[in-house]
């Protein structure tokens, strides 16, 4: 990889990581981590696998990631101008924004009426899928590996055969009176 290509790749990855971390924030991976802002003490979308998921061609957005990163950085530059911010040139503009500023910008991009709203919602959807369902990997394996999203949501582990069953499911007693119009099929009248 040439130096320019490598730099472009780095820009794309950190920009998209910063976006995913705005959707579901996580803990910094190191003291030098700029993309993940460190707004939360536990792993967020990035740690959950958002980058792996959006780079998978099955999602349908993997070919669009350069465009996504470029647009995010353009929007970040405009945002900085509008708000009189002096962005650190060592990192891409979106990464240079603080967490609250990234949040404000994502709210603008996904607000009803924004011309590209559908695209940003789509990218957000995959960030969610990485966190709340580990869609890039098998669910049982993700749980076994301590996937941050599934673990935080306390999804129960499967049985030995890889399947879920809940032997206890009901309070087992009548908890309300039936509607007086209920027919003998159990339907409304």
């Amino acid at each position: 990889m040439s130096a320019q290509l490598s730099a472009d790749h780095e820009t794309r990855v950190t920009t998209l990581e910063a976006f995913a971390d705005t959707i579901i924030p996580g803990a910094r991976r190191s003291d030098q981590d700029r993309a993940v802002a460190g707004a939360s003490p536990t792993g967020g979308a990035v740690a959950a696998g958002a980058m792996e998921l959006i780079h998978w061609d099955a999602t349908g957005i993997s070919q669009s990631l350069d465009g996504y990163a470029r647009a995010l950085n353009e929007h970040a530059r405009e945002f900085a101008q509008q708000h009189g911010l002096d962005l650190d040139g060592d990192v891409p503009p979106f990464v240079a924004l603080g967490f609250e500023q990234r949040t404000d910008l994502v709210r603008v991009l996904t607000a009803p009426g924004h011309p590209d709203k559908a695209l940003w919602v789509l990218l957000s959807l995959f960030c969610y899928m990485a966190y709340d369902s580990a869609a890039h990997t098998g669910t049982a394996a993700a749980l076994a590996a301590g996937h941050p999203g599934l673990t935080s949501m306390r999804l129960a582990a499967p049985g030995a055969d890889g399947l879920w069953r809940f032997p206890s499911w009901s309070y087992g007693r009548q908890l309300a009176d039936l509607h007086p119009g209920t027919t003998d099929t159990g339907s409304p009248a």
Partner: protein
């Protein structure tokens, strides 16, 4: 030489509308071919897995429109494989609805009384359990107790579930691994196959043309088994009669695309779409208050059973109330990955993403989801059809962009607001929970029960089908899926879609006979039972049977 395959009856779609029609026609002696755009999976194939490409994503389609998104089945068995199997009959007042057209929307020939025998036929064919309180999930029990605490009633919901076989696995929406859910794969479809019908999965119907002999030619494309964005060939089948049952988000699109070859479609094709008035509220329960006020414990392990609905509140299903003020509130619970993005944090500045939302997700086991079904205003309209199928596919499965546009009217918005307020009144009473509706701002309103995009009715200006489900101006084409249902039902629609499909069969049989097909009406239920047939026999002559 004509190499195009011929059959008597071509059925598009294998969900409730398609499977029921296909069974009766095959049992009556017709040659029947069913085309299904999704894969053909059975119990052993149903993974307990959220991974993209597992059965879970292969079975579904999520179509994003402008103001409305639709989640539907995409597999042999259609919605019956992925739904929650709630099978209530629609309340009596539904059939008298007038809506914004201010005259009866349903055909005069259909009332609850005239539909009940057809409901009975379905109940004889698909094993439906009138669930008891022992079958009610923890979340359903909690909803019942909250309703009682608020002076309301609550009902276990009739469901097509063999409760003895159910393991409460949490994966009910991903097909039933244990064959507890009585999907069409266990009744109508095997019976249709036994009578010689053929099912062709991964055949996506694109359009219909008329042949010189008055029959129809149905064009399809073959869809790759793994990546639905890819097609691998195409073909055509000739048939005397076509039964369209591709679902309310796809049937009108096929007809729109066919207009070039078939001629003009009725005005109502692709219009009057209803989302069944559906909307979700998330209640975050306060464990301590639930214990103190209701005397119930939230068992964290048990409170993630993705099963439902098991309990509904029907107090507002009161025919004496004005239209748009009647609704039901049904408890749901399902695994993550199916819309958690739409849950909003509460307070002054609700958000669907960010730090507070992450916190909300971590309390997922304390969520109680309430599913409301109001009377909406049939606002949906389909735009010009996409190049193929009913959506421009984005991901290999699951996600596509459709042309449906839905701008809720003040009637619909007011009805949702009323149902939201009722959820709050019940669940925020005495601090039991904090309730917030899901946002419509991201992907629009969201329905899992699309209806009415090609509806039956007496008025040709507002209905695409006559009361026997035949497409106006196009004899020999019938529509039997949810798109034929005229309006929102205030309850889950599968039972009504099925009863209407049963009722439509005599006229389809007659049309086939008139076209020279040697077919008779009068098959028993798929398992051979005949009580339902006896019940509907007096109604059949008026339907052409």
């Amino acid at each position: 030489m004509n190499s195009v395959e011929r059959t008597d009856v071509l059925v598009v779609g294998t969900g409730f509308g398609g499977a029921i029609a296909a069974y009766h026609l095959a049992a009556g002696g017709a040659r029947v071919v069913m085309l299904e755009r999704g894969p053909w999976l059975t119990a052993a194939d149903y993974d307990h897995d959220f991974k993209l490409g597992s059965s879970y994503t292969r079975l579904f389609d999520f179509t994003v429109g402008d103001g409305m998104s639709v989640l539907g089945g995409n597999c042999v068995g259609g919605g019956s494989v992925v739904y929650f199997a709630a099978m209530p009959r629609a309340p009596r007042f539904v059939f008298e609805r007038r809506g914004s057209v201010n005259r009866r929307m349903w055909p005069s020939s259909i009332t609850r009384d005239t539909l009940d025998p057809w409901y009975d036929r379905v109940a004889e064919s698909i094993a439906i359990t009138r669930q008891g309180w022992d079958d009610v999930s923890y979340s359903g029990g909690l909803w019942a107790a909250a309703c009682r605490h608020a002076g309301r009633t609550a009902n276990p919901v009739p469901a097509a579930v063999d409760t003895a076989a159910c393991t409460n696995c949490n994966w009910m929406m991903a097909g039933c691994r244990f064959d507890a859910k009585q999907s069409l794969l266990l009744n109508y479809l095997p019976a249709a196959l036994a009578h010689g019908a053929a099912i062709r999965p991964l055949h996506e119907v694109q359009s219909i043309a008329r042949n010189p002999d008055g029959g129809y030619r149905v064009h399809y494309q073959l869809v790759d088994a793994e990546d639905y964005r890819i097609t691998a060939g195409e073909g055509s089948i000739d048939a005397e009669v076509v039964v369209l049952a591709a679902g309310a988000a796809a049937t009108p699109v096929i007809l729109q695309r066919s207009a070039a070859a078939l001629g003009p479609m009725p005005h109502a094709v692709g219009r009057y779409f209803s989302g069944n008035g559906e909307r979700l509220n998330t209640a975050v329960l306060n464990e301590e208050r639930v214990r103190e006020v209701l005397g119930l414990e939230l068992d964290p392990a048990a409170f993630q059973i993705g099963k439902g609905p098991t309990v509904a509140n029907w107090d507002r299903l009161d025919g004496s109330l004005p239209e748009y003020t009647r609704f039901s509130l049904e408890q749901l619970y399902f695994p993550p990955g199916l819309g958690t993005i739409l849950a909003l944090t509460g307070g002054q500045d609700p958000r669907w993403f960010g730090l507070e939302k992450k916190e909300l997700l971590s309390h997922w086991q304390k969520w109680l989801i309430i599913f409301q079904m109001i009377e909406d205003d049939n606002e949906g309209v389909f735009g010009p059809p996409p190049a193929r199928g009913n959506a421009d596919r984005v991901s290999q499965q699951m996600l596509g962009l459709g042309t449906l546009s839905y701008k809720p009217t003040l009637n619909t918005q007011a009805a949702w607001a009323m149902a939201d307020a009722e959820c709050k009144d019940i669940l925020e009473r005495d601090g039991l929970a904090t309730v917030t509706p899901w946002t419509n701002d991201l992907v629009g309103a969201y329905t899992v029960h699309p209806l009415a995009s090609c509806r039956i009715g007496d008025d040709p200006r507002t209905s695409a089908l006559d009361d026997r489900h035949e497409l106006r101006g196009h004899p020999g084409i019938f529509v039997t899926d949810g798109s034929a249902v005229p309006a929102a039902l205030t309850v889950n629609p599968a039972m009504t879609i099925s009863a209407l499909a049963e009722r439509a069969v005599p006229a389809i049989v007659r049309a086939a006979r008139e076209r020279g097909v040697d077919v008779r009406y009068g098959a028993p239920a798929p398992d051979g039972s005949t009580a339902g047939r006896r019940g509907t026999a007096p109604l059949v002559p008026a339907l052409g049977g």
